[in-house]
């Protein structure tokens, strides 16, 4: 049991536990805060995979923007933030069965992959991950077109947000 494995186990346990609390918590703001904890756990897992850039981007975008958006949305719409309805309906056993089957399927699929039991390899020294990403984003035979299309996608999101807000007003 290397230190990395122990850290991974602890972090995944916390992440999954927080995710469970997100969906079972009765107070909406508590659910949003558990979501923040889940997202932070995912960011830590990114660092375990040597993806430092993605980890900080996760915190900046997900926790710094999306979680705050969620909290704003919750605070702006509900007066009574307690969920009174019952938490499980009659078919809860079907959901549980599906979850177990999906997990079993994914597990058996991944077992045939050679990297399943390996930890993430360290980068060779001098490997500039962000530089490579930057080059990939702008070189014509790599990802420049998706890069520009991403900006159009963000523009579409902005226009959609304006449209929704107009309807609300």
């Amino acid at each position: 049991m290397t230190a990395q494995q122990i850290i991974f186990l602890v972090v995944s346990f916390v992440t999954l536990g927080s995710a469970l609390m997100v969906v079972t918590s009765r107070n909406l703001i508590h659910a949003a805060l558990w979501l923040v904890s889940t997202l932070f756990g995912v960011a830590i897992i990114y660092t375990l995979l040597n993806a430092g850039f993605l980890a900080v981007v996760q915190v900046v975008v997900y926790i710094g923007a999306i979680a705050i958006l969620f909290i704003f949305a919750v605070m702006l719409t509900r007066k009574d933030m307690r969920d009174q309805s019952p938490q499980l309906n009659r078919n809860w056993w079907m959901g549980a069965l599906l979850a177990v089957v999906t997990f079993g399927g994914l597990f058996s699929l991944l077992q045939s992959w050679s990297g399943f039991s390996k930890t993430a390899a360290d980068f060779p020294s001098g490997f500039d991950a962000i530089g490579r990403l930057g080059e990939a984003l702008v070189s014509p035979d790599a990802f420049v077109l998706p890069f520009e299309v991403a900006s159009v996608l963000l523009l579409a999101a902005l226009v959609g947000a304006v449209y929704l807000a107009f309807n609300r007003k």
Binding site: A3, I29, L33, F53, V59, G64, A67, I68, F72, D128
Partner: protein
């Protein structure tokens, strides 16, 4: 390699020798040494924080033409210690109906978000916490945690002033993060790296000479992020009674307050790292790391002084004016500045140094001037629409009379 040139490594090796001779496994010894180092740094920061309280009170007193604390100890130096003792022995009340867990966690998160920033501040070429290659985004990530702690504080206090204050403060903080991110891209473009140490190493010419408007916009956005005047919506002391802080007393309030001052000092440090060369001062840092630490702390103190100066000179801006200023003026301006800097950097970098520096500097001045002209024309047009053309000039005529 002696102690004066590389203190961290010498100390770490010495401690490692001691710990392994006690029979500790190497991993454990490394973790313990790291822990001790971090603990030492944070302890020094907390002591510095205490003196920042004293500095703040003396400075605000001088700006307001009075003396400030001068009873406790020479020049009032014991005042912050008395404040700490007072905060420690105050009763720990929790307002009725407050959400206890969230209410208690908020000040801790707020202080933590400031302390972790010091992990990436390079105090000297060889003394730094962690040389992250994503240092700049780490700065923003820590800011996000701080923003979250403010929402938590405001909501859990069960007080409508706290909620309104927290909402407004968070709206201001997230709005001003956009020009701040754009301005953080400028040292990245100019130095080709997101790591703080690399940015300092590349500053043979301080970046403030290449992008003065960028430094200015970063300062404005940083002051808004800090929640200090003229953008202190949350602490509108006469407006919202102290905003998200209302229901906090004792050490929890102390954490918010001290956290804010330390945050301001930290941003003074980052401003100097990103635009003013950090620990570099014409080669002084190569002499000894301790001189480098002195240089960067001095520059951070100057940055903090400027932030205080702005706070005690300017009036608070109204929330809608603040947000309009950000979204309609600063954001377009900062993105245009970013595009211009990137373009000019690519075009002029290969040429002579003087052409490079003067080209970038003049383009910044030109951009600032034209932005102000556009704003002036726009506001004159708005005023004429509101008052009629004669009225707008009538005031000037009267004054000249």
């Amino acid at each position: 390699m002696n102690f004066w040139n590389d203190p961290l490594k010498i100390a770490a090796d010495w401690l490692m020798g001691i710990f392994t001779s006690w029979g500790m496994p190497e991993i454990g010894a490394q973790a313990l040494i790291a822990f001790l180092g971090i603990f030492l740094l944070i302890a020094i920061l907390m002591v510095l924080d205490i003196f920042l309280v004293w500095i703040e009170r003396k400075v605000v007193a001088r700006f307001q033409d009075r003396i400030g604390p001068n009873r406790l100890g020479p020049y009032g130096l014991m005042q912050p210690f008395a404040d700490i003792v007072k905060l420690l022995i105050k009763e720990d009340t929790t307002p009725a109906g407050a959400d206890k867990v969230v209410y208690n966690i908020a000040p801790m998160l707020s202080m933590m978000s400031v302390l972790i920033l010091w992990a990436i501040v390079p105090l000297a070429p060889v003394i730094l916490g962690v040389d992250l290659n994503v240092g700049i985004l780490f700065l923003i990530a820590a800011g996000s945690i701080g923003t979250l702690s403010i929402i938590m504080a405001g909501w859990s206090s069960n007080n409508k002033f706290a909620m309104v204050g927290a909402f407004r403060q968070v709206a201001v903080m997230i709005s001003f993060e956009v020009p701040m991110l754009a301005m953080l891209l400028i040292p990245t473009v100019l130095s080709g790296s997101m790591g703080m140490n690399a940015i300092i190493q590349k500053q043979d010419i301080w970046f403030v000479a290449l992008a003065p408007l960028g430094a200015l916009i970063f300062l404005i956005a940083a002051i808004a992020e800090l929640g200090r005047a003229p953008f202190d919506m949350a602490e509108g002391e006469s407006e919202l009674v102290s905003g998200y802080n209302i229901e906090y007393s004792g050490m929890k309030f102390g954490m918010f307050y001290a956290g804010e001052l330390l945050h301001a000092f930290t941003f003074g440090g980052f401003w100097s790292i990103l635009f003013f060369g950090g620990y570099r001062f014409f080669g002084l840092e190569k002499v000894s790391p301790f001189l480098a630490i002195a240089v960067i702390l001095f520059k951070a103190m100057i940055g903090y002084w400027i932030i205080m100066w702005v706070k005690y000179t300017m009036l608070r801006i109204r929330i809608d004016h603040m947000l309009a200023f950000n979204w309609k003026f600063l954001t377009p301006l900062s993105f245009v500045l970013l595009m211009m800097t990137a373009l000019l950097n690519a075009l002029l970098r290969g040429g002579s140094t003087w052409l490079y520096i003067s080209g970038m500097f003049l383009s910044n001045v030109l951009l600032a001037w034209s932005a102000l002209e556009i704003a002036r024309t726009y506001s004159r047009r708005e005023r004429e629409k509101a008052e009629g053309p004669k009225q707008a000039l009538g005031v000037v005529a009267e004054v000249h009379h």
